[in-house]
């Protein structure tokens, strides 16, 4: 990960990827070259076919996986941050520690950062309250529904008060009704906290409903096929879901995705 360069490059931006590629040890080219700039406070959705490197891109931004080539910059308090600094990550699975309570799961990032207990407690309470799980603090993950586990995962990502929230198909495994509710909750959180969100999803509808900008990726190795700006009223709600504008945006995103599924099978 290149960390040299002037801080001016990152001004106003949260994440900047330039010519980023990823080739696995097996020789498979998974990603790129990818150029992506995300403004501070922006909600960007990454949509693309399976295996197009969306998740890989997130892992690279988080510093969990080094890019094969290219330049990755992530801002932290307006300056260039170290990999992983100021980042919250939500996986497709809730990825909770089954051996301990909800509260201790949310405490994990603070514990790893050695935040004093009293200070940590207040922040855990706040994070749990934000996702509406205060009453379930003492429960174990297995006692919760899929949607509630995802909320715990979200609370854990929020507890460090990150600047950037990376979400890797977080609601893909949930039923439609739970997903709609979590979509609305996520939008409400984003309106309040104004964090930068990069949200990977398979769902055209979800991408349009949530984001300000939908980045459509090609099949492997993933590059940007199209960007669709979703300029619509805030706050979004169910009336947006049923509006003509929403349908129009969905049509545009689907059209941009079409080459990935109309040609030979991606599988």
């Amino acid at each position: 990960m290149a960390l040299s360069g002037s801080q001016a490059d990152i001004a106003g931006l949260s994440v900047s990827l330039q010519g980023v590629t990823k080739t696995y040890d097996s020789g498979v080219a998974a990603l790129g070259p990818l150029d992506l700039k995300v403004r501070k406070g922006e909600f960007v959705a990454l949509v693309g076919p399976s295996g197009c490197g969306k998740s890989t891109a997130l892992r690279i931004i988080a510093g969990l996986s080094p890019p094969t080539s290219g330049d990755v910059r992530v801002s932290y308090h307006g300056e260039e941050g170290r990999p992983g600094q100021g980042i919250g990550f939500v996986f497709q699975e809730p990825t909770l520690m089954p051996w301990t309570s909800v509260r201790e799961n949310v405490r994990l990032p603070l514990k790893l950062a050695r935040v004093p207990a009293a200070q940590a407690d207040a922040r855990i309470d706040e994070a749990l309250q934000r996702v509406g799980l205060s009453e379930f603090a003492k429960n174990y993950p297995r006692e919760l529904s899929g949607g509630m586990k995802m909320r715990v995962s979200l609370a854990r990502a929020l507890v460090t008060d990150p600047e950037i929230l990376l979400m890797d198909e977080p609601f893909a495994a949930l039923d439609e009704i739970t997903r709609f509710r979590l979509n609305n909750d996520l939008l409400a959180l984003w309106r309040n906290l104004r964090k930068t969100v990069i949200f990977v999803t398979h769902s055209v509808f979800e991408s349009v409903y949530l984001s300000q900008r939908v980045v459509v990726m090609t099949s492997r190795p993933g590059r940007i096929a199209a960007e669709i700006h979703v300029a619509t009223m805030e706050p979004r709600g169910d009336e947006f879901r049923t509006s003509a504008a929403y349908a129009d945006y969905c049509r545009k995103v689907s059209a941009a995705l079409a080459p990935s599924y109309s040609g030979r099978s991606a599988l």
Binding site: E93, T95, W99, L112, A113
Partner: protein, 273 residues
């Protein structure tokens, strides 16, 4: 989460649980009865085959001797087991921290495991004091399941959780303490459960190989000694005690495992949960 329990289903479950206790008990009773009848009807002398009643009588009459021997064997087993638990877990942790150490030592752990302990025991008895040799035998047999299971557990950590620890800059010690050890706990406990029974086997094998007389001799020695003297009822009584000791050891370790995992691990949760 908690639906109303269906009385019919609960009734059914209780009946099943009863059957699981009652059926083996009936089999045991029938087996003992048949054994006793065969011995009595054929007038088989006790030095050929004693009946279960005589075995029980012997157990009571020889209790002081047998109980002393039981304590000796259990002490050896316990020492071997503790050494196996500590050795197995410590070695697995070392392997997990350094691939070089793992590659260097793992083949020898396997060799120690696959070489029959009964063949090693006489050698150990030459080079080590007898009591130490017996404990070492129990350790050799017992440590490998702990090592293998702990190694497996430490390396089967959820990939995303490991990523999360990396993202938040966890130190090696934090990762070990907060992620790897808890993830490995069900495996470690599984290894200990196997190792408990094996330590008993190791102790018995070594005692038979040692074959020394005296006050400090264990149950296995009593069996060998009674065999030489054609005291077959006492052989059976000692065997019964050994078997019971094995069951108790297994039961205790299973209980500990259940208590440690009951709140979170699938293996310890009710099937209908």
């Amino acid at each position: 989460m908690s639906a109303q329990p269906n009385p019919a289903v609960a009734e059914n479950g209780r009946a099943l649980r009863w059957l699981r206790i009652v059926l083996p008990a009936i089999v045991l009773a029938l087996g003992l009865l048949a054994w006793e009848l065969v011995v009595r009807l054929n007038n088989i002398p006790p030095y050929v085959l004693p009946g279960p009643v005589l075995v029980l009588q012997t157990l009571v009459s020889d209790w002081s001797v047998l109980f002393q021997s039981l304590l000796t064997t259990l002490l050896t087993t316990l020492e071997g087991f503790i050494a196996a638990a500590i050795g197995g877990i410590a070695l697995a942790l070392l392997f997990n921290q350094s691939k070089l150490i793992e590659y260097s030592l793992f083949p020898y752990a396997v060799i120690l495991q696959v070489t029959p302990v009964i063949a090693i025991a006489p050698l150990l008895l030459i080079y080590l004091p007898q009591q130490t040799a017996v404990v070492v035998c129990a350790w050799i047999v017992g440590f490998f399941p702990v090592l293998a299971n702990t190694t497996l557990g430490l390396s089967s950590v959820d990939r995303n959780l490991a990523g999360l620890f990396q993202l938040y800059g966890a130190s090696r010690l934090q990762t070990l303490q907060l992620l790897k050890l808890p993830s490995a706990l069900p495996y470690i406990l599984g290894g200990l459960r196997i190792s408990g029974g094996l330590s008993l086997i190791g102790a018995v094998v070594a005692e038979i190989a040692a074959g020394t007389a005296g006050a400090g001799s264990g149950l296995a020695y009593r069996i060998a000694e009674s065999g030489y003297r054609l005291n077959i009822p006492r052989m059976f009584a000692a065997l019964l005690l050994l078997s019971l000791a094995g069951i108790v050891i297994y039961g205790l370790l299973a209980l500990i495992s259940h208590l440690a995992l009951r709140r979170w691990h699938e293996s310890a949760l009710g099937k209908d949960n």
